[in-house]
């Protein structure tokens, strides 16, 4: 078993754990010091870690981890929506219609898994939909800053969210096409060769996201008084 774990970690795909595991540890250590939005990020990294492990186990055990993907999409949608609901202004459309928007997207994911892309196929529509939503959240948050750079707000906290948002935009924009054409890339034998290159790019962007999250979590722990103001 240990050989398998070491083999997994030594592969390029294993690099994703390099920053994900420290994120989870730091998140657990500093849990009490984090504001609500950062707590959601900690929940997200733990969810990410669990999903990574489960998807790998599924891939090894059943040679098919596609059934896990809709759940991953649902988890991502819920956690990022909750995170952006915390940091977006109250008057934002995404906050005002939080429940209907999230509800409709979740319903579409379920319907897609039932009727269009069954559990054993790559649910590219669901993942694309979730990614587009997260990108929209990210853009709404980024441009919100241009309207209201409020000096009264906790600047360090806002700066932290801005960095996380930048990493989120970078990751989800960069991997949008990879997941959008995921079904084609994984089913076509010729394309599969090149898919690994794209998949590595996805891992690289994922690592950047985790690095940013790790830095923000550490920064928050080491300057807790400023953040809790």
């Amino acid at each position: 078993m240990w050989n398998k774990i070491i083999y997994e970690l030594s592969r390029f795909e294993g690099l994703v754990f390099l920053f994900l595991i420290p994120c989870c540890i730091v998140g657990a250590i500093g849990w009490k010091q984090f504001p609500r939005a950062l707590k959601l990020i900690v929940v997200f990294v733990w969810f990410d870690l669990c999903t990574e492990i489960i998807l790998r186990v599924l891939a090894h055990a059943f040679k098919d981890n596609n059934p896990g993907l809709p759940f991953y999409a649902i988890g991502q949608m819920v956690l990022w929506s909750l995170f952006y609901r915390e940091i977006l202004p109250r008057r934002s459309v995404f906050v005002r219609y939080f429940k209907p928007i999230t509800g409709v997207i979740l319903l579409l994911i379920v319907l897609n898994s039932v009727f269009i892309q069954p559990l054993h196929t790559f649910c590219s529509y669901s993942i694309t939909l979730v990614q587009i939503m997260i990108i929209l959240y990210g853009i709404a948050f980024a441009f919100r800053f241009l309207e209201e750079a409020n000096l009264d707000e906790n600047l360090l906290e806002q700066q932290s969210f801005r960095y996380i948002n930048s990493a989120v935009l970078l990751y989800y924009c960069g991997t949008l096409f990879v997941f959008m054409f995921g079904q084609f890339l994984t089913s076509d034998l010729t394309a599969q060769r090149d898919f690994y290159f794209l998949w590595r790019a996805n891992i690289l962007l994922n690592m950047i996201l985790h690095i940013v999250i790790l830095i923000i979590l550490c920064k928050t722990i080491f300057s807790p008084r400023i953040l809790q103001n």
């Binding site: 980024a142 241009l146 750079a149 801005r162 970078l170 960069g174 096409f177 090149d194 790019a201």
Partner: protein, 262 residues
Amino acid sequence: MQNDFQPSDITKLIGIGALIMVMLALLVVIYVNYAQRRLLKQRVDRQNMELAHQQALVQRNLMTQEEERQRIAANLHDDIGSKLGVLHLTFHRLHRLAEPTPEQESLGEEINNLIAHTLERVREISHELLPPTLEDFGLLEALKELKRQIEKTGAVQVQLDCNILRSEIGDTHAELHLFRIVQELTNNSLKYAAAKQITIELLQETGKKHLRYRDNGRGFDLAAQQHKGLGLKNLESRAEMINANIQLNSAPGQGFEANLFF
């Protein structure tokens, strides 16, 4: 017609698309960061201007207050004080001329005491408004007088240490503001802190003069007070008016300390 489009071409297109998306995201991030920094800088500048304006208003207010104090003190001392003095003397003369009955004698004594008391109060008030010692003999003597006044109440011990000459302190303007700062601090120590011991040090240190004030009162949360305390704002404004740097330090149960470098 043969389709030349191979799966590998589609993969390449996906790769290019992904790259473009990353570039776009980077552009958005860079633009937003840049624009936000500019916006924040503008707001900080505006807030600084507002602060400077407020500070100027407070300083103008303090100057007006000082001028008014000087005017009232002068009027009290020179006008009302001297007239009361004349009244006192005239009354004495009247008292000597007449042959008062015992009842008139007692009433006369009462009036005499009242005039003497009023004269004393006028002198005290005018000295409180502008201590003549400060004008005539400088800050060190004024502080000694303040120490005597405070200790007269018997509630507080004041320790005053100075290793500085009058000429080293600065002009009368600086002396006045330093005195007012100490006056404000002692008032706070007496009124709110219930201090038993106050230490005032006026020291000449390497290249800088240092006024250090400490009390052993109940202390307070400085961060909570800084938003509302007019007294503290006045201290800062006065310090700024003499180009001094003031540092306040206090915590509940740990007394209060102010350090002024000028």
